[in-house]
Amino acid sequence: MSPRGLFLLWAAAFPFAWAGTVSGAETAAKPQLVVEEFMGGTGGSAAKLVRKSLERSGRFELSGTTGQYLVRASSSAGRIDGALVDTKGSVLFNNHYDSSDLRDNASAFADDIVAAVTGEKGMALSRIAFVSDQSGFKEIYVCDPDGQRVQQITRDRSVSVSPSLGPGALLLVHTSYTSGFPDVYVTNLRDGERDRIINAPGTNSGATFSHDGSRLALTMTHEGDPEIYLTTVTGGRSKRLTESQSVEFSPAWAPDGERLVFCSDATGAPQLYIVPRRGGEPERLATGVAKCTDPDWSGDGRLIAFTAWKGGDKSVAIYEMETGRTRTVLSGAADPCWAPDGRHLVAVQAGSLVVLNVSTGKKEQIVTGMGKITEPAWSR
């Protein structure tokens, strides 16, 4: 019998025996979850991974006995049959996760729980790309949101920089000097196939995926000064978006793909500007910060994270689109990038990769001791 069949049999045999332990009162606080022990040979490991992912999401109170939702599952040979049940005994979902990797299955299950309870995206199954020089060369690495499973992607022994990950971390785009010049490459992370998509004269760099993964924005210089261009992941054609005699760089997409935020030093120190995807006059964001770099637009469109510079000091700040207010969220850090859940940021602080829950202020160091780490990019 398949694992799914076993689960359904098990579920039928123990119909909501836990119901008496669940609190029916929903509070304004975080939803309460009860994560039962998972049955099956890999149940213990699976439960631990799911519980950690749910904790890291920062969205739930994990309770041992009482809660508004029950997480129930079995796991064997790394596969998971997982269900989420509410206080009325209704099964919100009952899914089978059959990736070859237990960790991936646990992450997918945790993200489904987040989506079912909050209606929003989770981040457990996402990945983070970054640059490290620990090999003596700048190469691209990818890791999980908790810093586990660090994987070296490029082995060019050249200069590989400026990574961006598409939705689901299936595609990586980055700049490499393998040819001797800065060209843009797209790599399929499933099979490692890599294509050089842009080798225009000059510098081609800073490519970043739109939230839906269909487009790229980057800086190219083949027409003179560094300008922002739009292209697709095939890279054959592009559309110029800016025109000035200054440096335009670090574009990032609004979640609806209709606008972009980027940096320009047109007035001196770099500032943030917003421009419509279809073209138009860029509009400067009144951040109140003298020097701003590394903007990234949150998945809900409400916030733009960026690095705020004051003298030699740097910090991660957030600009609120609705109010026009800017607030510092992490001192001594730079290079912020939003998680797909729009609640967490990855940044570089004191040479380490840190993840910040913007809602709670809780910070976690996830990668350290890998030489100089720069340019983190969370999958869309």
Binding site: Y177, G236, C263, D294, T307
Partner: protein, 164 residues
């Protein structure tokens, strides 16, 4: 029954084709609403560079380095005589020169683009001083520039490949 099977197989094949396309190839240019406004990207002709193939043909250190103020791409008055020195060098040499730019800036990406603007500015200055544009190649590294740039713009002579 056979036609149902055929329909399912056809549907599965189309689904596989579509998912395969969108997974790696993304939306082809023709499928985007920007397509009409997009222009073909030019391609660089492959030439020797310090980090790439042909680096053995490159000689460094024979010409002066142009320095810049921090996070600036404008040529300082103090550096203008060096531009003239380099321009004068071309009169007696048939070789091409690789203009290699570096920069230290707030972020690695800003440094890459700032160094590109530095190399372009120097290129324009050399052309204005009478150097043929075809003699000047540029490459910009930002903070990853070889030490010869000293954070500014260095000149490397590209040998013709002919044995002396």
């Amino acid at each position: 029954m056979p036609h149902v099977l055929f329909h399912r197989l056809t549907t599965a094949a189309v689904a596989l084709l579509v998912s395969g396309c969108t997974m790696f190839r993304g939306s082809p240019d023709d499928f985007t609403d920007d397509a009409m406004e997009m222009q073909p990207n030019p391609r660089r002709s492959e030439t020797p560079s310090l980090l790439g193939p042909g680096s053995e043909r490159i000689t460094t250190g024979t010409l002066p380095v142009i320095r810049f103020a921090p996070e600036s791409w404008r040529i300082m008055v103090s550096e203008e005589p060096k531009i003239l020195t380099v321009a004068h060098w071309f009169t007696g040499h048939p070789e091409r020169v690789l203009v290699t730019a570096g920069a230290h800036a707030a972020t690695p990406e800003y440094a890459r683009q700032l160094s590109d603007l530095r190399s372009q500015t120097v290129r324009r200055a050399l052309i204005a001083a009478g150097v043929p544009a075809s003699k000047i190649l540029t490459v910009s590294f930002g903070e990853d520039a070889p030490a010869i740039t000293q954070g500014g713009v260095a000149f490397s002579v590209i040998g013709t490949g002919e044995k002396p």
